[in-house]
C-alpha cells in the first residue's frame, strides 16, 4: 500500500489528508480486536475532522477493548481519479485497511448534499452500492446523524440507520455484530431491527397511492417494530465524550476544542429541525465541563475552547461558567468562543467578556426582516432586542457585525423581504463606520418541524426575492451575500423525499455528481435529469403543499415530537401567533414527554454554575 500511495500522493492536493498518523490517532492491531468499525464521513478531511459526532463515536468505540474504530473521509476528486487509475481501494487512515475488510462501515449523514459521496465512497471501496446486492462477507453499512430523521431517500444504500443520538446504541450494534458473526446477513439485520433506535429499511414495505404520495410503510413481519423511536442520551455527564482529539494534519474548518455544554433547545423556532429533534434540553455540569476542558486543552494544544450547543447562552448559569473559564484559562492563553449568540444585549455583553482582546466579528441571527415574519417562525427577537444588541456590540468595540436571515419562509411577502434591507440599514447606522455583512439563505422545510407540510419557494421565486433585495440594498456599509437557490432546491427535494428518490440519487451519482455541497462540483442540471429519469419531479417533493392527513415518508420515525403539536404550531404560524419557550411560559405540549424515562421534563435538572 505504501508503495502504491508513494506513486500517487505526490500528485494530489494536500496529500497529508490521506496518510493518517496524526497525533492522537488510535492504532490497534486488528488481530487483537473482535470488531473493526470504519467511521466514514462523506465529505473532505477538513470538514470531517471538525465533526463532533465523529469525534465522540471514535472515542466511544475505541474505549472498547474489543473494537478498533478508524476514520475515512471522501477523497477529493483528484485523489479519487488517482485511486481509480491505480486500483487503490478506499482505505482507513489508521491502518490503511481497505474498507471492504471492516465489519462495520458507519456513515455520518449531516447534510443531504453529501449523499452522493456516500455512494461514491462505497463504490471506491468495492462494496456494492445497493444494500440488496451485499452479501454475507460485505461490511454492515450503517448511518447516523440528523439526516436519518428522514432515512427514506438513502434506504436503498444503507443496511441500518441509527435514529437519534449514537453514544449508547452504537455499543448494542457492535455487540450484535459480534454475536452474529457467521450467522448470515439476514439474521444480523433482524437482530439490529430489534434494537431500539435502529431502523432496517429492507424489513419494511412501502406502498404508494396513485398520486405518488405514500400509502403505508409497514414492517414485513412481527419481529420488526412499526415505528422506530429516536435514541436519547439522558445523562450528559456520564455520556461518552473524548478527552483527547486526533489532531488534523491540515488546517480544518474549526481549529479549537469543541466543548458541548448542552444538547437540545426549547426555544421552538418553527423552521429549525435541530431545535425539534434534539429535545429535551440536557446539559453537562460545570464540574464535568471543567474536567473535560482541562484535559482536552492539555491533550490537544488548541488555544481556544468553543462552548457549543444549539443555544449556548441558554445554558443555566452561563455567566458563571464563562467567568470561571475566562479566569481559569487566561494565563494559559486559551481563549473562549461562542458559535452564535442570541440577538440581545446581555448575550453581546457575555460575548464581550469572552473576547476581551480579539474582536473578530459578531454574528447575530434575526432570521427575518419584519416582526410579523419573526412571529410566524417563532423567533422571539424584537427589533428593539437587535438594536440593543448592536448598540452593546458597538460599545464593546466590535466594528463588524454579521446578520443571518432567511428568505422563502412560509407566508412571506415582498414587504418581509424588503424588511431585511431596511433592518440591516438601520443596524448599520448604529455605529459610525460599522460594517454589516448580511447573509441570506433560502428556507428549506424539514421533516419533524411545524413546516414539514409547507411548500418551498421555487428557484425562480427565490431568485426574484434575491434580486428584490439586491435592488433595495443601497447602504455602503452593508454587504449582501446569499446562497445558490438551486442548492437549496435540491436540499429541499432530498430532505423530504421518499424511498423512490433513491433511484434519482443513484442516477445522479452515475452521472458524476459528488461533493454537491461544493459550488465548483455542484451539477444542478444533472440532478434534475436524474430525478426526471427516475420518473419523479422535484416539485412533488419540494414545492407541494402537503395535507396534514397525508402519510409522510418519515411517519414511522418517532422523533418524540407529536404530530398534533407540529400541526398546532403550523396553524399558529399562519396566524402569526408565537409560542413562548417552555422554560419560561410553561409546557407547550411538544410531546417529548412521551419518550422520557420520567413523565416530566423537570426530571432533567438544570445545573447552575457558581465558582
Amino acid at each position: 500500500m505504501q508503495e502504491l500511495l508513494d506513486n500517487i500522493l505526490p500528485c494530489v492536493l494536500k496529500p497529508a489528508r490521506y496518510t493518517g498518523g496524526e497525533f492522537g490517532a488510535v492504532v490497534k492491531d486488528h488481530s487483537s480486536v473482535e470488531v473493526t468499525f470504519a467511521l466514514a464521513f462523506p465529505d473532505s478531511y477538513e470538514i470531517g475532522m471538525s465533526n463532533l459526532g465523529l469525534r465522540i463515536l471514535y472515542h466511544v468505540l475505541n474505549s472498547r477493548k474489543d473494537t478498533a474504530a478508524e476514520r475515512v473521509f471522501a477523497p477529493w476528486t483528484d485523489m479519487e481519479e488517482e485511486m481509480r487509475n491505480h486500483n487503490i481501494p478506499l482505505y482507513s487512515l489508521e491502518t490503511r485497511t481497505p474498507l471492504k475488510s471492516f465489519n462495520i462501515l458507519g456513515f455520518s449523514l449531516g447534510y443531504e448534499l453529501s449523499y452522493t459521496n456516500v455512494l461514491n465512497m462505497l463504490d471506491l471501496s468495492g462494496i456494492p452500492v445497493l444494500s440488496s446486492d451485499r452479501e454475507d462477507e460485505s461490511p454492515l453499512v450503517i448511518a447516523g446523524g440528523c439526516c436519518t430523521m428522514n432515512p427514506e431517500p438513502m434506504a436503498d444504500f444503507i443496511d441500518a440507520f441509527v435514529i437519534g443520538e449514537g453514544e449508547d446504541v452504537v455499543h448494542q450494534i457492535v455487540d450484535a455484530v459480534k454475536a452474529h458473526k457467521g450467522s448470515g446477513r439476514s439474521a444480523l439485520l433482524y437482530a439490529l431491527a430489534g434494537i431500539p433506535g435502529v431502523y432496517v429499511p429492507s424489513l419494511y414495505n412501502v406502498t404508494c397511492n396513485p398520486d405518488g404520495t405514500v400509502e403505508s410503510i409497514l414492517p414485513k413481519d412481527e419481529r420488526v417494530p412499526g415505528t422506530v423511536t429516536k435514541r436519547v442520551v439522558w445523562d450528559m455527564d456520564s455520556a461518552g465524550y473524548p478527552e483527547r482529539l486526533v489532531m488534523p494534519f491540515v488546517e480544518t474548518v474549526h481549529e479549537r476544542v469543541p466543548l458541548e455544554v448542552m444538547r437540545g433547545c426549547s426555544r421552538g423556532c418553527r423552521f429549525c429541525q435541530a431545535g425539534m429533534v434534539y429535545r429535551p434540553v440536557r446539559h453537562r455540569s460545570c464540574e464535568k465541563l471543567t474536567t473535560l476542558a482541562d484535559r482536552l486543552c492539555a491533550n490537544s494544544g488548541y488555544d481556544e475552547i468553543s462552548l457549543i450547543s444549539l443555544s449556548t447562552a441558554d445554558y443555566p448559569g452561563i455567566e458563571g461558567l464563562v467567568g470561571k473559564f475566562v479566569e481559569r484559562y487566561k494565563n494559559r492563553r486559551i481563549g473562549l468562543s461562542l458559535p452564535s449568540i442570541r440577538a440581545d444585549a446581555p448575550c453581546v455583553e457575555l460575548a464581550d467578556q469572552i473576547q476581551k482582546v480579539r474582536k473578530s466579528g459578531l454574528t447575530l441571527a434575526p432570521e427575518a426582516g419584519t416582526q410579523r415574519m419573526r412571529n410566524v417562525i417563532d423567533k422571539n427577537v424584537t427589533e428593539e432586542n437587535l438594536f440593543e444588541a448592536v448598540q452593546a456590540a458597538v460599545r464593546c468595540g466590535w466594528r463588524r457585525i454579521k446578520l443571518y436571515y432567511m428568505i422563502g419562509l412560509p407566508t412571506e411577502t415582498d414587504e418581509d423581504v424588503a424588511g431585511i434591507a431596511k433592518l440591516s440599514t438601520e443596524v448599520a447606522k448604529i455605529g459610525r463606520g460599522l460594517a454589516v455583512g448580511v447573509s441570506v439563505s433560502s428556507f428549506v422545510p424539514k421533516p419533524h418541524t411545524p413546516f414539514e407540510w409547507r411548500p418551498q419557494d421555487s428557484v425562480e421565486e427565490i431568485e426574484r426575492k434575491q434580486n428584490l433585495l439586491k435592488n433595495l440594498q443601497r447602504s455602503r456599509n452593508v454587504s449582501l451575500s446569499w446562497h445558490d437557490a438551486r442548492t437549496s432546491r435540491l436540499e429541499g427535494v432530498l430532505s423530504r423525499g421518499d424511498r423512490r428518490l433513491g433511484r434519482a440519487i443513484y442516477a445522479a451519482w452515475k452521472r458524476g455528481c459528488r461533493f454537491d455541497a461544493w459550488s465548483e462540483h455542484f451539477r444542478y442540471d444533472s440532478w434534475m435529469e436524474s430525478i426526471r429519469e427516475a420518473g419523479l419531479t422535484p416539485e412533488f417533493y419540494a414545492n407541494r403543499r402537503r395535507d396534514y392527513g397525508e402519510t409522510l415518508p418519515w411517519d414511522h420515525i418517532n422523533s418524540g415530537i407529536a404530530k398534533e403539536f407540529l400541526i398546532r404550531e403550523d396553524k399558529k404560524a399562519e396566524e402569526g401567533a408565537v409560542t413562548p419557550d417552555c422554560r419560561l411560559g410553561g409546557c407547550t405540549g411538544c410531546g417529548i414527554k412521551s419518550i422520557l424515562p420520567k413523565d416530566s421534563c423537570k426530571g432533567v435538572p438544570g445545573i447552575a454554575c457558581t465558582s
Binding site: 497529508a16 498518523g21 497525533f23 489532531m247 490537544s300 494544544g301 480579539r358
Partner: protein, 224 residues
C-alpha cells in the same frame, strides 16, 4: 532564552507541507507546556521560527527551529518534552542553547545537502549528467508561480556534487545546493535539470541530510 532545535521529518510525515509541519509543531509545543515566550499584540503566538521550507514529500534529518522560552531550561529537557508530544515521524534530534546576543542561527543558514534517489538511468549515466550541469554556465528550470510559469537560472545555487552511488538498482546522488532566505535551488529543480538530458529519470526519494551556514567566502562551506 533561545533554543535551537534540529527536527527530523520521517516517512510517516513526509507528505506534510511546510505549513502543516509548523502547525503540528506548534500544537506539540503547546501540549508540552514548556514555558514559552509569546509575541505581543492582539493574537499572541508562541515565539518560534522555522528554517526554509522543504517541499511536500521530502524527508529531512535536519530541519531547524528556534524557540524562545520565558525562563531557562536545559536544552535536553526541552528536547525530551517535545518528543513526548510530537506525532510519529517528527522527532527532535538535538537541542542547544543559542548564546545571548548571538545572531539568529536560522539567518545564517545558506546551503543544504540532499540525498536524491532516482530510478531509470544507471548511476554512471546520472553522475555524468549531473557533472555536466556543474560545467554549464547556466542551468535554466521553470517554476510554477501564482502568476504563471517562470524560468530561473539555478546554476549559481549548485554548490557541490559529493557522490553518486548505486543502491538497489537506484542511483543515489549527494548534492549540496544553496538555500536560505537569499534564494536558492530546490532539489526538485536539480532533478528537473537532470531530466533534460535523462528524460526517463524518476525520483524515488529526496532527503535533506544537513544544513550549512556560510562563513566568509561563498565557496567555503563550513559544517556547523
Amino acid at each position: 532564552m533561545r533554543v535551537l532545535l534540529k527536527l527530523r521529518k520521517g516517512e510517516e510525515v513526509k507528505y506534510l507541507s511546510h505549513l502543516d509541519m509548523v502547525r503540528a509543531f506548534e500544537f506539540a509545543l503547546r501540549r508540552s507546556e514548556l514555558p514559552m515566550a509569546f509575541s505581543e499584540g492582539f493574537n499572541p503566538r508562541p515565539k518560534m521560527a522555522f528554517c526554509s521550507a522543504i517541499g511536500v514529500g521530502v524527508l529531512s534529518d535536519d530541519e531547524r527551529i528556534m524557540i524562545t522560552l520565558s525562563q531557562p531550561l536545559a536544552p535536553e529537557c526541552v528536547k525530551d518534552r517535545l518528543n513526548g508530544e510530537l506525532p510519529p515521524g517528527m522527532e527532535i534530534a538535538a537541542a542547544e542553547e543559542v548564546p545571548e546576543g548571538a545572531k539568529s542561527p536560522l539567518a545564517t543558514l545558506a546551503a543544504s545537502e540532499y540525498s536524491i534517489t532516482v530510478g531509470g538511468p544507471s548511476a554512471g549515466e546520472v553522475e555524468e549528467a549531473a557533472l555536466k550541469l556543474f560545467e554549464e554556465p547556466q542551468v535554466r528550470v521553470t517554476r510554477t508561480r501564482k502568476d504563471g510559469l517562470k524560468e530561473v537560472d539555478i546554476r549559481p545555487h549548485l554548490l557541490k556534487l559529493s557522490k553518486v552511488e548505486s543502491e538497489g538498482g537506484y542511483a543515489v546522488l549527494t548534492v549540496c545546493l544553496a538555500s536560505g532566505s537569499s534564494g536558492g535551488a530546490r532539489p526538485q529543480d536539480f532533478v528537473e535539470a537532470l531530466k533534460k538530458s535523462l528524460p526517463n529519470l524518476a525520483v524515488k526519494k529526496i532527503k535533506r541530510l544537513k544544513q550549512y551556514s556560510f562563513s566568509g567566502q561563498k565557496s567555503c562551506i563550513q559544517p556547523d
